[in-house]
């Protein structure tokens, strides 16, 4: 049985509820907008229901630590095709086991969640590292990014604590939303008809006067701090994969 849902984490919790109530065994749990019908598919669509979602989440909090629950929430944002079913199977293990099972990494879903969370954390860390703000004419430090996973919900705090005295915006151009800090609070925002350049960068005409000169100095610094005699591009690429270069002034010039 393939189950379709609206693609939200709350929606997935409603799926868990319905599966238990109706004794359904899902073979796949798929975001509605991603579903491509195949012949002989048995499909059921689950509507998101706030009451059902709440009952599942409350129930899980009784069976697992809030830290373990947050790991599921984080893993969900990896958007891997198998992630819904993995979370479902993880929850099934939690519910069917007496006592705590969260560290039995011999169990497929438990190890998989652990590994996906590790990948998420790496991507979050990469955003902490690779976001490059550009000062715009309206005095906003703005950055466009294109992370492998949906990490926006997990990076705002870091930047809020660090850049408390400047306006900033980080925008995920692929998922078409971002976070904006107005020096008071974080906001999730969606920009209607954004005017990026062809490769989804901020247009030069929107940049503040001295912006380019700081980028040039940063490029100069970057090349001067490298040691030619030690050049090791394999190692370099391992640390800074090419897909991130576009938004790094030191690599895209």
């Amino acid at each position: 049985m393939k189950i379709l849902y609206d693609g939200s984490f709350d929606g997935l919790m409603s799926v868990v509820f319905d599966c238990y109530e109706q004794k359904m065994v899902p073979t796949a749990i798929i975001k509605m907008h991603k579903y491509q019908p195949e012949m002989f598919d048995q499909v059921q669509t689950v509507e998101t229901n706030a009451e059902k979602t709440k009952r599942v989440i409350d129930g899980l909090h009784k069976k697992m630590t809030s830290n373990a629950f947050n790991q599921l929430f984080k893993a969900f944002h990896s958007e891997f095709d198998d992630i819904e079913l993995t979370i479902f199977n993880y929850i099934r293990l939690v519910i069917s086991t007496k006592g705590y099972i969260g560290t039995d990494y011999r169990q497929e879903p438990i190890l998989r969640i652990k590994q996906v969370v590790k990948m998420m954390n790496r991507e979050i860390h990469r955003m902490h590292a690779f976001v490059r703000f550009q000062l715009t004419v309206d005095g906003i430090y703005a950055a466009t990014v294109n992370p492998d996973f949906d990490v926006m919900p997990f990076i705002g705090e870091h930047f809020r604590k660090r850049y408390a005295d400047q306006l900033w915006l980080i925008y995920d151009v692929q998922r078409d939303y971002g976070i904006y800090y107005d020096m008071q609070k974080l906001q999730t925002i969606h920009i209607e008809n954004p005017e990026w350049t062809a490769n989804k960068k901020i247009k030069d005409s929107l940049l503040a006067d001295k912006e380019k000169s700081f980028q040039n100095m940063w490029q100069q610094y970057f090349s001067s701090t490298s040691i030619a005699e030690r050049k090791n591009m394999k190692l370099h690429l391992q640390h800074v994969p090419k897909r991130y270069w576009k938004y790094l002034p030191e690599k895209s010039a």
Binding site: T103, Y105, F214, S224, S226, I227, R230, N232, H236, H239
Partner: protein, 410 residues
């Protein structure tokens, strides 16, 4: 003609790059009063150089003017190069603007020595002070302490900096005298020991009194140049161990000597000893995070690390009597000693085995490098078929895996 900031950056970043440290970790500094920046404790590499080193800090010299003539250093007095100096304003402005764009975690400021140690250090401190007091900057600051610095100057440095470092540079006094005639180890150890006391006292005070101001919250580190002088790895690693134990350093850095100078006091190397440097770092990690003693990693009979295999594998091959390790029963510390099993995998194994027997596939999925681990573990009371009592054979199979496949083919 007056040099532009970009010209200065080019020269003074180039001259600072041989200081390999770029760590921004180990300090915790919160963002105060809605100011700029913080230090999170874990450190972030914002980029990596083409040689694969972390770029975390804006690492520059204040100036490359220098009264010393150390053979291993590009900025030595006798070297015919262009000399420039940043102004205080220029360094502050670069730091703030790079930081606001999320290029860096902070500033690592060092300098050629003009006049004397204290005079130079005071200039570095002035910049740190301005960043902290006038710009409410809470990012990471690493200041170099020039050998011979006085307590008064260091006391002020510790107030503004997260980390301080006095570089040992050359691992033995005798070699140092030969290639850096103005320096001696005493001028390094005196400030290092003073800082150690000061840091310890500060930590003690902050446990007792809540409002104790921070003093170098990221501790102190040092660097040694490797390969410019004849010291063995045995000598170097014992020296590091004593620096960790006695001086309580946070990090010892090893900088493979890059033949930058034609100076006749130095050996004519063709290439920097990069593999050796890498092996020293691996050995350093074994000492700090894996519970190895120095004499388990290296002894006088073979005073240099094996360049072909990592030091943990080297240890295992020299101590085959300690293996195979039973992953279902052995204590965590022993599992950590298995080549191919790191801290993360070892933790997963000991957590999981509480629920039942851990199998070969489990360990593999948990991330162990089985090409090495398979020689040193047993799973259900018996070693894996790969285990062999002949260290030479294991060593050969690990170094030349492809050749082995070829042999079995015929």
């Amino acid at each position: 003609m007056k040099a532009s900031v970009t010209d200065k950056l080019k020269i003074l970043a180039d001259a600072a790059k041989y200081d390999v440290s770029c760590a921004s970790s180990g300090s915790k500094r919160n963002n105060k009063n809605k100011g700029l920046g913080n230090a999170t404790g874990m450190g972030i590499c914002h980029s990596y150089t083409e040689d694969g080193r972390c770029v975390s800090l804006l690492k520059i010299l204040l100036t490359n003017h220098c009264i010393y003539d150390c053979a291993y250093c590009v900025s030595r007095k006798s070297n015919d190069i262009k000399r420039v100096a940043f102004t205080v304003e220029e360094v502050v402005d670069l730091t703030i603007n790079f930081y606001r764009r999320n290029y860096i975690e902070g500033l690592f400021l060092s300098s050629g020595i003009f006049k004397n140690a204290d005079y130079t250090n005071e200039r570095l401190i002035r910049i740190a002070k301005k960043l902290r007091n006038e710009h409410n900057f809470n990012g990471y600051i690493h200041l170099k302490i020039i050998p011979g610095a006085s307590p008064e100057v260091m006391r002020e440095a510790g107030v503004y900096a997260d980390r301080l470092s006095v570089n040992l540079e050359i691992p033995s006094e005798r070699s140092l005298q030969k290639i850096a005639p103005e320096k001696d180890h005493k001028s390094v150890y005196t400030p290092m020991n003073w800082l150690k006391e000061q840091i310890a006292e500060n930590r003690e005070d902050s446990r007792k009194f809540r409002k104790t101001p921070m003093f170098a919250p990221g501790g102190q580190s040092t660097q040694m140049v490797v390969g410019a002088t004849p010291e063995t790895d045995h000598h170097i690693l014992n020296l590091s161990a004593s620096l960790y134990k006695e001086q309580l350093l946070k990090r010892v850095y090893y900088s493979g000597y890059i033949p930058i100078s034609e100076d006749e006091r130095l050996p004519a190397l063709k290439q920097a000893p990069l593999i050796r440097e890498n092996r020293l770092y691996q050995a350093d990690w074994l000492y700090r995070f894996y519970g190895f003693e120095v004499n388990e990693i290296i002894d006088e009979t073979q005073p240099n690390l094996d360049l072909e295999i990592d030091p943990k594998l080297g240890y295992a091959l020299r101590h085959l009597d300690q293996f195979p390790v039973d992953v279902n029963r052995a204590p965590y510390e022993m599992i950590l000693r298995v080549p191919g099993i790191g801290v993360k995998t070892a933790q997963l194994i000991v957590k999981s085995r509480k629920y039942g027997r851990v199998r070969y596939e489990d360990i593999k999925k948990m991330g162990a490098a089985m090409n090495r681990a398979k020689y040193f573990i047993e799973i259900s009371g018996r070693p894996l078929p790969a285990a062999s009592a002949v260290p030479e054979r294991i060593r050969h199979e690990i170094i030349y895996p492809a050749k082995k496949a070829q042999l079995t083919l015929f």
